[in-house]
Subunit: 335 residues, 4 copies
């Protein structure tokens, strides 16, 4: 036993943890709350296990053409992405902005999936669309502006499909987890959370990407947490550093906008990576995640302070045995 | 030349970068602005070079007793910290809260410096104190609440001492860099910036730590940028993940609160690390920084998009030769 | 001509107005924008003319029982309210909170309307409900959390019903007016705006009621603007002063929560007025509005700086003649 | 006894007030807190009684020239202003912006006072300046950016001068009242509060003027509360409606920027009223305040819910007799 661990154990036994604000302070959540000892829930999307390792969802902001979508899909697949994103229904500030291709866009996504095998993540914006959009999508995304569209949350819950629930740009952790609770309460356990930046007084970045939600969600909920650095910053050159930061902080994945020709994009021109940028980024993300999974670094990815630390994704593949509570106690004091 | 680099060069030459909002949009800054090709300024503090590698400033929130301060100083020194922090003048919300030991505190810090060799960082809160506090401190800290105390900034400028300028909890990047400009305009080039969290609607964390300021400062200014995860989150178990995130995003350093016995602290009980926690964290930070300095990861630490990328700190030690602009052009397209 | 007016005319002619940020800066709005010289649009709701005089919408937060709703309706009618509010579908943070009576609630509202003659304002939260809820409601309310539920806005537009569009708690004026544009663009000109407080760092009040939206909406849009002081403050004793302030600033009306027995309410217990409080408030509101309509005060209610001032509601009843542009020019310089 | 009053008494006796969040929730304030039954403190400034009636402080943003200052002073005096404002030390975002005339400006203000008899309100920004600036000023203003400059607050407290303490643009009510406490704790009871707008996500207005601070301060503190609509909105045409709103909500006064020639001003060009605009506004403010002081309206100006209502300023001049607690009890239920 290392000297640190001895001291940590001493600390843990003598209650220093009492000085931190307690976890479990989020009101009203039952199904979304992490119970003591509970592991992060794995959401299985056609074999992709969200909550394990680092899952990358990539693709264009909007589905614009078959060529644009399929070429981007192939490129992100080749670069190592696990799922394809692409909006067929686009919530836009102005009614006169491009609103997405709708059904036509969904059919293009379907082709892209067939072409690449990548599961498709796409946004749904209307309660009436949940069931039929669900036939084209593998994951239904609920966007920031609809986070508290409670009717849509319930319908998403009834669908049973995996739901990617973005944090509202004005929403507290408590409100966000309560929105997850709406979905879970309908009997759908497949909720993936995604932080995408909040609205603050700072206008230099498009939003203020709140990476503290990574440890916050891990502490309060068993649901996996992704980060969207594209909307979270709105600035191309910020996507790499903020993505790396998210991985270092323990995010379960990233959702990143990639376009084969950003200059021609119909939306979010300024924040979509080119394919070469994405390839370069993927290379670094993989390396960093592997590094973070090394035993000496791994407590950075631990789930929360109150529960035995989970083994990292890399370790999980080797063994599904429950880990003993004692090492968890050591790690608790460190984090 | 790798395939990526070819594509990146193509991209760079064909102007995709035009689609990102331009850098150089911060109004009125002349001395604080990064000129094209300009490297990050190194601030030398008794031989500690802030702006190179990863600089860790650690120590108690407040100087409380000689024993507490010196024991903490020795412990953080042994764990690898580069400077000692400790408040002798504490800005507190209430006039009835502990306000710091004042001169007595400064004398304790002086002893701690002699004991450990660590340069001392301490806050100054009054124009009348700048010169004499400057005789005890190696770095004068200007706190978030005084960021726009322009008289204090000018006095700090006149002192010539290295200044650690925290971002106000309500301040935009533009305001922050203009405050740096106040100091620089007095002829003092030694300004270190430190992000410590901004005030938002989210109350789960004490503040919202805005890590996007790391790439933002690198893009707009040549001044080094540190992160304070202690005030930035206010939650003990968030300090490790947010510190690692800051390093991955390319921060030039961290300022972290450490106390030999947090439970007995007179301020910020809930966010000061114990010594064993800090030792464990330092271990990970060092490893992560070394990993980030590897050539394949290093563009994550590059300075900004418009200038040739600097070699990482690790590389700098080997060679001070200017690097050619061409590889910079390649990297630009990636970030 | 008074001396002031001479000077004002001089000022107007010599361009001082150039020093104010121009109106007309809201992007993308066509139908919602106030054209030069355009008067405030009057929305007719069963003979109640919103946009003229001071319109009071009052009633319980939620429809709970027939007795509660009808007694409150009679009481607010007797006190001088123009319309009845009451929620049958309640958007709630938690899925486990009271969600409203739904259809049963709408039937109760229908009875209350028959009993009192008051038009009914009630919220709609689902695109699937717009048409049938519209058969029970005289005005469909779109709540703050659904302000950017664009599908719902379009459906509301198609319904042709008068729509009360609340400002999102996180929404800029520009986003809000663009949401009105969504409704108008579907061919429905009957949009009433309602400010209900925004989310800020201040937690003393439930929200921060932004009364500057009164002159802001008047300057940028021809749509009438109401204020909701109940949600806007969340504090019973703040409703009177903020309501009076709204009237003094020129609001076209107020939406106020009133309950015959707030202590027993199933939602918003702390911010619903009792009937006697509402009666007392109505008395003051009427007096204040009559005072504000006096000629010497009336420019406070003028529409915007760029257009001839409208006569106050009181004056309008006497004459529908267009007013000459000259007095408008005088007043412009004053406001 | 009116029917309303009977019902209100009934309500008061039966505890409805229990449903409102309690007052007295502000932590740590002792001297700034309103005790049960305590009246608003009157701050006497050369015979001007702040806290009684409606006090108007007017004048230029900055003292620029003797002619500009004295002409403006005469004009605002003639229009009915009670005090003259004017900055000799200007806190500016950029070090290269006009910083004020300093001592020369103070001497000009002194002349303007001699010319008009108006007490002078001017900002102090440095602890070293408090005593000597206090020899020129009748009221020392502490600006928003220095609200938590605790050294300056203490020095202001020691000076014994009346202090106008602006709310920080990022400060909660609790922090603001604790800053007042800093001054009061030094033995200086002469603190006047002034709301000047907070920073939010909305950029249409320069700040978001938070008029709910009027009832909030009245509920929690005995100190008088003024409103600054010039900085609070930053838009010329918003000053009239927001000033009227402030009076209707019960503000003890206003601080308004007026300039004889705004177009030539060295700071805040866009928000300074011309003299004719100010004259017109003063005319309306006086009328509105007289109207609000009529017995039927006066509870709108009452101090807080927990204490017997004070008679309005107009009534006070006629009689200094304490009023009986019973009418207060009635009024409580109304507010």
């Amino acid at each position: 036993m290392h000297r640190y661990d001895c001291q940590n154990l001493y600390m843990a036994l003598h209650g220093w943890a009492m000085h931190e604000k307690e976890s479990g302070v989020i009101k009203n959540i039952k199904l979304a709350a992490r119970k003591p000892g509970q592991k992060t829930t794995i959401i299985d999307v056609n074999g992709i296990r969200v909550g394990e390792g680092l899952i990358i969802i990539a693709g264009p902001c909007s589905v614009e053409t078959e060529r644009q979508t399929i070429e981007t899909a192939i490129a992100v697949k080749n670069a190592g992405a696990h799922m394809l994103r692409g909006g067929a229904f686009k919530p836009r500030t102005s009614p006169y902005a491009f609103q997405g291709l709708g059904l036509k866009g969904l059919k293009i996504l379907d082709k892209a999936r067939k072409e690449t095998g990548l599961p498709v993540v796409t946004e749904v914006v209307d309660t009436r669309d949940v069931s039929w959009v669900g036939e084209y999508a593998d994951v239904l995304q609920i966007g920031a502006r609809n986070m508290q569209n409670f009717s849509l949350l319930r319908e998403a819950g009834k669908s049973g499909k995996p739901i990617l629930l973005k944090r509202g740009m004005y929403s507290t952790l408590e409100e966000w987890l309560n929105c997850a609770e709406y979905i879970l309460a309908e009997g759908n356990p497949n909720v993936i959370l995604c932080e995408r930046g909040i609205r603050t007084f700072e206008t230099y970045t498009r939003n203020t990407l709140d990476l503290s939600m990574i440890p916050a969600v891990k502490r309060e909920s068993h649901l996996p947490i992704l980060i969207d650095p594209s909307h979270g910053t709105g600035l191309l050159s910020f996507i790499e550093p903020m993505s790396l930061a998210a991985v270092a902080a323990g995010a379960n994945g990233l959702e990143i906008e990639v376009h084969i020709d950003p200059a021609s994009a119909l939306s979010d021109k300024e924040q979509q990576l080119t394919v070469p940028m994405f390839e370069s980024l993927m290379n670094k993300l993989r390396k960093l995640r592997a590094f973070m999974d090394e035993p000496e670094m791994s407590s950075a990815l631990q789930e929360n302070m109150d529960t035995p630390i989970e083994k990292s994704a890399a370790q999980k593949n080797d063994s599904q045995d429950p880990i003993s509570p004692l090492p968890g106690a050591f790690s608790e004091a460190v984090d």
